[in-house]
Subunit: 96 residues, 2 copies
């Protein structure tokens, strides 16, 4: 699982770096593929937002403090979505 | 539904403004309650991230361009989660 996270981190980092630089349609298309991959790997929406923040922090030096604070709050809300996602997965697995 | 969105927007705006200003534990606690309310109203994780961005744009004058670009990409990924959430809701409703 750790390897998966690392590889998703790397892919997303390339995508976000490229998108911030060029705003290309291609990066948006890659994001759609990435989204499917995240779901195939059962990663929750909370993990996605958390991954986004980690990558964004690494790419941009000294993010404004209010940006980081805003993500703290968003992540707190997303925890609920993460739990709901877990319930959904276990329900799905029980039905298989 | 429009009224619901407006009231969620207002609540989140108060919460985010307060958290950015004071980083209080209380705002984080409110975020947990807010999360439950979002889910009771069947709002998807994509709608949550989109709500966050709208509120954040309103609170902070002239957000750095890279912050807005980064959200474009995050939202593109979240669309997949929004669709999955819709499927989950219709599955749940069919089972009732």
């Amino acid at each position: 699982m750790e390897e998966t996270r690392l590889s998703m981190y790397q892919s997303y980092k390339e995508m976000l770096t490229s998108y911030i630089k060029s705003k290309s349609e291609h990066a948006l298309y890659s994001a759609q593929q990435f989204s499917k991959e995240m779901m195939e790997k059962d990663m929750s929406p909370e993990e996605m937002v958390s991954l986004h923040l980690s990558v964004f922090k690494e790419i941009v030096d000294e993010l404004p403090e209010e940006v980081i604070a805003s993500f703290d709050l968003l992540l707190e809300v997303m925890i609920g979505y993460g739990l709901a996602h877990q319930e959904h997965l276990s329900l799905r697995d029980r039905q298989r």
